[in-house]
Structures are given as C-alpha cells and as structure tokens.
C-alpha cells in the first residue's frame, strides 16, 4: 500500500507506533528547541486520521498548554520527537479539539463490541501508522482482551476498518475484524494488510 521510495532509512517506509509512545514525546522546532511535549493524541474517530496533539509544558511544574498542535503543523513524527517548523504552527486548543463536536472523549478504556454484540475487551492503546514521517492514521487498537477472544486476558491488536465508529464510550467493529487479531505489532502489520485485502474483495 505504501509505494517504496528511493530513500533508504527506517522512516522512509511506514512505521507502526503506539499512542502511548507518542504521548510525552518532545515537540522540537527545526531550530533545535524543545518547546512542548505531547499530551493527548487527537484523531478523527471515523476516518482514523490524526488531527493533531494537545500539549503540555516541558518544565517540572508546567501543566497543560493553552495551544495545541494541528496535524498540518507537524513537519515529521518520529520515534524520538515530533518535529515542527517553529512555534507559529500552534493553534488554540479549542481549534484542534473542535469544541462542541459530539462523540469526543478519551478512547482508552472504551469497550470494544462486535456488531454481533460480543464484548471483546477494553481499548488499552491505539496503533498509529506513520508513513514517511509525515502522514499518520490510526490503524488499530490494542485491547486488553476479554474471555470472548480466548486469549486469557492478554493484550491483542485488532485492525480498524473504515466503517468503525468510536466514541469515548465504546467501539463497534465488524465481527470479521475479530478474525484478524494479532499478538504483537509486527504480526499486526500483516494482519492489517490481510484485513484490508479481505475488505477490498468484499466490496
């Protein structure tokens, strides 16, 4: 799905990251100053697209910041820092969070239900696929599994589909997605490919 490029290096293809690894990452300008750290990851609950990040200060006593980082201001999202051009890319927190939009909430801890009504567990983390360090989507969820998945309560990864709806309360997935569960991130990358291929043939 991602076209290979002429550039070598680990970030030139796509990389899977967990949201919990992205939060707390420093926000660094191209001039080399760390101006904030990531607090929350904000994403479009339907399309899975990353909308931006809320921020907190980097000082020992600093708390949440009034301004946030929209995705359009992200120069690169790497394993060690979120790069921005300079501080002018920040927008107000409300603009990034779109105050008043319904269905907003922290998805960590939300229940995962299949459209058949089975409870698969609770969301413990969110898997983000970053392509070229510059485009990012939520591609799946890490779930602390319930008995229904028969994984003895271990954490498993489940792919996100285009039709998945998520809110701060619950996530409803097609029952078919439950067949593409993976135990780790490398396995999950393959599961996402298989799941997408399957959905393409269905359409």
């Amino acid at each position: 799905m991602t076209a290979p490029t002429h550039e070598p290096g680990p970030a030139s293809s796509s990389a899977m990251m967990l949201a919990s690894e992205i939060t707390k990452r420093p926000v660094v300008t191209l001039a080399g100053a760390a101006v904030a750290q990531v607090k929350d990851l904000v994403f479009d609950g339907t399309a899975g697209r990353i909308a931006g990040f809320t921020l907190s200060g980097r000082g020992l006593l600093s708390g949440p910041l009034r301004h946030s980082l929209p995705w359009s201001g992200v120069h690169g999202l790497g394993h060690d820092a979120v790069m921005i051009k300079d501080e002018s890319v920040f927008e107000s927190r409300a603009d990034v969070l779109e105050r008043g939009s319904a269905g907003r909430g922290d998805v960590l801890g939300s229940r995962v239900l299949t459209d058949g009504g089975t409870d698969l567990g609770r969301i413990s983390d969110v898997v983000v696929e970053v392509v070229e360090g510059t485009t990012a989507h939520v591609v799946g969820y890490e779930i602390a599994s319930s008995d229904a998945l028969d994984r003895q309560g271990r954490k498993v990864f489940i792919p996100l589909s285009e039709t998945t709806a998520v809110s701060g309360e619950a996530l409803v997935i097609p029952a078919a997605a439950a067949e593409f569960v993976a135990d780790d991130l490398p396995g999950f990358a393959a599961a996402v490919q298989a799941y997408r291929a399957r959905r393409r043939t269905e359409v």
Partner: protein
C-alpha cells in the same frame, strides 16, 4: 581539523607573539553550517570570544590571530549562537523526521573557511551540509 584536536590549543597574537588564551569551545552558525567564532579560556579578561575574521591561521600547534585582533563578548547576531547550551560536543542529534541519531562525538571542520565538513555522532558520520538547526535541545539534520 577536529574540534577535539583544536580545543585546548594556544591562541597567539601574531604581532606581539603573546598568548591571548586557550581554545575552549566553538560558536557555530547553523544557517551557514560553519564555525563563526572561537570561545577562549584563560584570557586576560577583555572578553572570551574570538570572531572568525580575526583568525589568521589554525595550525597544528597553535591558533594565530591577526594583528589588531581583539577579544570581545558576543554581541549582535553572535550572542544567541554563543550560548553555552548550543555547544555541539555531546549535543543530541535528531533528523527532521524526529528520529534520533545519537549525540555529537566530534566535528570535522575546514580550518581555512570554518565550514563544518563532518558531524561525527555516536551512531555514524553525517556531512556538515545537512545541518538544519542548532538549539538548546538538539542539533537538527535535514534529510539527505
């Protein structure tokens, strides 16, 4: 020439044949990827910064300064660059995608022009032309 070889070298004025200080550090301008001044220690107190234009030669044993050269305190455009927090050795290195490339272990520079030739990091060498920014947190390298 390497930063590590040059640091600790005597700085001698050509006219008076007098030691004016010892090389302590390097002031680097990321916009031009070059050394723009030397920071000295053990000076006579008139200042600790020797701008590049005042250097006659950086030799294997000593740095010779031009006649009429003066030390000063960093001012104007030099002031923010001369901040100790921007010192390169030991500085964290990131590329513009946000991937870590280790820390700066040494820098190879052109003794005639001051241009940075190679940034040596704990994970490998990078051409000086890749320098994009240098701040209190990290040295940023652009994509090759």
């Amino acid at each position: 020439m390497l930063f590590s070889e040059t640091a600790g070298r005597q700085v001698v004025s050509a006219t008076e044949a007098r030691t004016v200080g010892i090389v302590d550090g390097f002031v680097v301008d990321p916009a031009t990827a070059s050394v723009v001044a030397l920071r000295l220690k053990k000076t006579d107190g008139s200042g600790d910064t020797l701008v590049w234009e005042h250097i006659h030669a950086i030799g294997p044993d000593a740095v010779i300064v031009r006649s009429g050269a003066t030390l000063g305190t960093p001012s104007g455009e030099l002031a923010p660059l001369a901040d100790k927090h921007r010192s390169l050795p030991g500085k964290r290195v990131l590329d513009e995608r946000g991937e870590a490339l280790g820390t700066v272990s040494d820098v190879d520079f052109d003794a005639d022009t001051g241009a940075l030739l190679t940034i040596r990091t704990t994970t490998g060498d990078h051409p000086g032309k890749r320098v994009l920014g240098l701040g209190p947190y990290a040295l940023i390298l652009r994509e090759p």
